[in-house]
């Protein structure tokens, strides 16, 4: 199924050359190849298996300052011809855009050395072992407590990917990635109350996964602690975001420092560089260079080397995250955060985007609260980064005299992101990179909990 590594790079070079021959003044070509596998088990039986590979190629051309893009999974000669022709034709319907263009020659680059993005053990895993791993995780959940009466199953997924990028200014780069993930979703019941939760482990290679029994037991304990929830009365209290949901707050922050949101005037953090936008205990970093992590890559999707950018330092906004386009719009330099699929203009993505850890453990943070809400799940799309308005559904545990006292659900939490950032009173010591966005436990001084 796989073409040789050289063949993919050659193909990308050929597409760029054909685009230039057809009248493009610049061209960029992306080739992505992937193999995926997934096994789902449910109630101790294999439920489904999926295995496949795919390839796609995309080209973006600039004719002067007009851009056109095209992509295809048809890698036949005819498919490639059509790909190039269509991108050139499309450049004809777009407008001159003064900021459109490739990075400057001195901006290209790729990190040297082994970034440990592909683990050798993933390609050779036996199907039987992958199924067994998922079964062990689910069994651990089912066996952990009689109230775990059902399950949405457990799954093992793995992926091998290859990414090639070539442009007409002389950049050519390629890297391989791999990951494995294991997750379990048990369902708990007691009386009329039925609740589910999940736990998952993600790693570049099989050997990096948490033990299946641990994944199952954590998932089960999370579902169990949600049983018999109470809907509390409406009140303003301190709110603690468990690390897993604190990540979603970091996601909201990323949307607000996103270069496109800045030049389009749709972020509450516009014009705030150098100003205090968060409390003293907030330092946020975007780092695409940390070996082995999930947001790491040698170069971004414009061929600019990945790097470490301090976004917020002790509460002060230091940098936005930019690709070349947003940088030109704002009169700044790219931060190496270009991101895109096979087609279209480059967007902006993050590397490893995280909140630095603090000194207190989650237990110490909770221990210092007399009456508050410990959030373990948020629900919905009620975050507006233009105004900063934040309103989400939430579930979790109520904090009474420094202890997690009882389950709470069907409530909302609301505030404005501006106040929330300034109101962060503690970042926990429990920072873990479980994905490309990471955060420790976060305590916010006050939010409105909407309930009865």
């Amino acid at each position: 199924m796989s073409l040789s590594q050289n063949h993919l790079i050659e193909l990308a070079h050929e597409v760029v050359k054909r685009a230039l021959d057809a009248g493009a003044s610049d061209a960029e070509c992306t080739v992505a190849e992937g193999e995926e596998f997934s096994a789902n088990v449910r109630m101790r039986e294999l439920e489904s298996l999926k295995e496949a590979g795919s390839r796609g190629i995309g080209v973006r051309v600039l004719v002067g300052r007009r851009a056109g893009s095209s992509s295809t999974s048809d890698l036949s000669r005819e498919g490639i011809e059509r790909l190039v022709r269509s991108a050139i034709e499309l450049a004809d319907v777009t407008n001159e855009d003064p900021c459109a263009g490739l990075p400057e020659a001195d901006e290209f680059g790729s990190l040297a050395g082994d970034l440990r993005l592909a683990a050798p053990d993933v390609a050779n895993l036996e199907t039987g072992m992958k199924i067994e791993t998922a079964k062990r995780a689910e069994a651990a959940a089912l066996d952990s407590d009689p109230r775990i009466f059902n399950s949405e199953g457990a799954s093992f997924d793995s992926h091998l990917g290859r990414h090639v990028f070539v442009n007409s200014r002389g950049f050519a780069g390629e890297y391989r990635t791999s990951y494995c993930s294991l997750s379990a979703v048990p369902v708990a019941r007691e009386g009329e109350s039925m609740e589910r939760d999940y736990w998952s482990s993600l790693a570049r290679g099989f050997s990096g996964l948490e033990p299946p029994e641990q994944v199952g037991r954590i998932a089960a304990s999370r579902a169990l602690r949600r049983l018999n929830p109470v809907k509390v009365t409406t009140q303003k209290v301190p709110v603690v975001f468990e690390a897993r949901v604190a990540r979603s707050l970091l996601g909201n922050l990323f949307d607000a420092v996103h270069g496109m949101a800045i030049y389009r005037h749709q972020s509450f953090l516009e014009d705030k560089l150098g100003e205090k936008v968060a409390s003293e205990c907030v330092t946020v970093i975007d780092d695409g260079t940390i070996p082995g992590l999930f947001g790491t890559s040698p170069f971004d999707d414009e061929g600019v080397a990945s790097r470490r950018t301090v976004v917020i330092e002790r509460g002060v906004l230091k940098s936005y995250l930019l690709n070349c386009y947003a940088a030109r719009k704002l009169g700044m330099k790219t931060t190496g955060n270009a991101s895109r699929g096979l087609t279209g203009n480059p967007g902006i993505g993050h590397g490893n985007f995280y909140l630095e850890k603090g000194a207190e453990t989650p237990e110490q943070i909770v221990g210092g609260i007399r009456n508050g809400f410990y959030v373990t799940e948020t629900q919905g799309f009620g975050v507006n980064t233009v105004t900063g308005d934040y309103s989400q559904g939430a579930a979790g545990l109520w904090i009474r005299d420094g202890e997690l006292a009882f389950a709470v659900s069907e409530v909302t939490i609301a505030a404005n992101l501006r106040e929330m950032l300034l109101g962060i009173e503690a970042a926990g010591s429990d920072l873990e990179f479980r994905g490309s966005v990471a955060a420790p436990t976060i305590k916010i001084g006050e939010m409105t909990v909407g309930g009865k």
Partner: protein, 476 residues
């Protein structure tokens, strides 16, 4: 559409014998059922931002998914190469799920039954780009001309044309050509250098390009987006806690999609993990509520001539006068449950296994005058537009986030309020519906539903309704 007329027969030279051979290979290890889902998808999109047409993109994606069912097990493999050898290879991979001797004798593939809900001679994807690019230019101009306080406009037009061919070991061979187009406009408004507010509107369906020229024009969507942004200037804090909520007609039908729709998908109920599991025949809403899922409405975004397993779509009653009537089935669940198919098996693409999904989900009209509904509320919230929603099908808790809403004070709509999320519990929320308007409206055609990582286009609809009690996530 006959098999011989499909792109798979004409361009890729596939024959009935090829399909039968691949099905036989898929069942070579003794599976009970197999199907092939061929897809050839053309996509295009054009974007305008800051009055500059900055992007135009086109894509081709093609492949075949092979599925084998053996008891409760499913094997799945796909190939983006449509040569017979590669399909056979995928079939062998999918076949591993079963363990036994081949039971296949022969397939007698017969052209299956399907609707003709979107007879579109020329799909938008097949029209010249120059015509389509005009749509975003017009939207940009109209939004800016609407009011000088509109200072930022972003419009995206996107369409696709999906050629589908399904062959099953039951002997069904069905093909379809599925056009889809939409135009989205989002704007920002600002007053006297204050904080900006955004507005959004969009729509489309399985239509010809003429829809945007004659029925819902770029100017229509542009004005709608501008109106929303301007309306939100000066918004006050939303209330926090339980209050009376009136939903306006159309897109607020997302309530039904989240509160009941997902919970009634048969996979969750077969497994007993939905808050609605085992509740058929029980009262789950006030008797004013009748909710249907109908995949057969002409030209609608959520409609399909046949579902993605080759089964014709239909109108399914989910809740009738408050009583739970039925679930949405795909092939696997209906077989295992011994239930009749409902034409609800859908998938994002050839890379995905089918799942039971919604199509167009809406509540039937009642008898109340919408104005009377608002007049009946001394204090509450009137919600006109929403951003999106989400549900935990096990606990039944769902949310949907209001992007345009107003306070109701003494029976009158007064001030706009800031974005707020509403939360409720599926089997409980609709019990508090005390009035249902006579103004059923379907949404404009922009809905995308996500489940297990798969996105499919859907529609929703609702008349104006009054819900006596719902929790609102404001700060006031």
């Amino acid at each position: 559409m006959q098999f011989a007329e499909t792109i798979f027969a004409s361009r890729f030279q596939l024959t009935r014998q090829d399909l039968e051979r691949c099905l036989a290979e898929a069942l070579s290890h003794g599976g009970d059922y197999a199907d092939l889902y061929f897809e050839y998808l053309l996509t295009s999109s054009i974007g305008i931002d800051e009055s500059i047409v900055k992007s135009a993109a086109q894509g081709v994606s093609m492949g075949v998914g092979v599925r084998v069912i053996a008891g409760e097990r499913t094997g799945y493999a796909y190939s983006d190469d449509l040569s017979v050898e590669k399909i056979l290879k995928a079939a062998r991979v999918a076949a591993y799920i079963a363990a036994g001797p081949s039971k296949v004798e022969s397939f007698n593939l017969k052209e299956g039954r399907r609707h003709n809900l979107y007879p579109v001679a020329t799909a938008p994807t097949e029209t010249p780009f120059a015509e389509r690019v005009e749509l975003v230019r017009r939207a940009d101009r109209a939004a800016r001309a609407y009011d000088s306080r509109i200072f930022q406009v972003n419009a995206v037009y996107a369409d696709n044309l999906r050629h589908v061919l399904i062959a099953t070991s039951d002997g069904v061979l069905t093909a379809d050509r599925q056009p889809l187009a939409r135009l989205n406009v989002s704007v920002l408004a600002r007053e006297n250098g204050g904080a900006p507010q955004r507005g959004h509107a969009g729509g489309g369906g399985r239509v010809e390009l003429g829809f945007f020229l004659n029925e819902k024009t770029p100017e229509y969507f542009a004005k709608e987006a501008a109106r929303e942004a301007l309306a939100m200037l000066g918004a006050v804090e939303a209330p926090a806690g339980e209050t009376t909520v009136v939903l306006g007609p159309g897109w607020p039908g997302i309530l039904l999609h989240e509160a009941v729709g997902h919970g009634l998908e048969a996979d969750f109920n077969r497994k007993g993990v939905s808050a609605f599991s085992g509740r058929i025949g029980q009262k789950v809403a006030s008797e004013l509520c009748t909710v249907v899922d109908d995949g057969t409405i002409h030209h609608r975004r959520g409609s399909l001539n046949m579902d993605d397993e080759g089964q014709p779509t239909q109108r399914n009653v989910l809740i009738e006068n408050g009583v739970l009537r039925g679930y949405l089935q795909d092939k696997l669940s209906s077989t295992l449950l011994g239930a009749a198919p409902t034409g609800s098996g859908r998938r994002e693409s050839y890379e995905h296994m089918p799942l039971p999904r919604m199509t167009n989900t809406f509540m039937l009209a009642g008898e109340s005058d919408p104005e009377e509904i608002i007049r009946s509320v001394p204090k509450g919230l009137y919600c006109v537009s929403f951003g999106g929603g989400q549900v935990d099908i096990t606990s039944g808790n769902f949310v949907f986030s209001a992007s345009e809403s107003y306070l109701i004070e003494d029976g009158k709509i007064t001030r706009p309020v800031r974005n707020a999320t509403l939360i409720g519990n599926g089997p409980e929320a609709l019990k508090y519906v005390s009035m249902v308007g006579n103004d059923l409206k379907l949404d404009q055609g922009v809905g995308v539903c996500g489940k297990e990582g798969q996105s499919v286009p859907v529609g929703v609809g609702i008349p104006t309704i009054r819900i006596d009690k719902m929790t609102v996530g404001g700060t006031a």
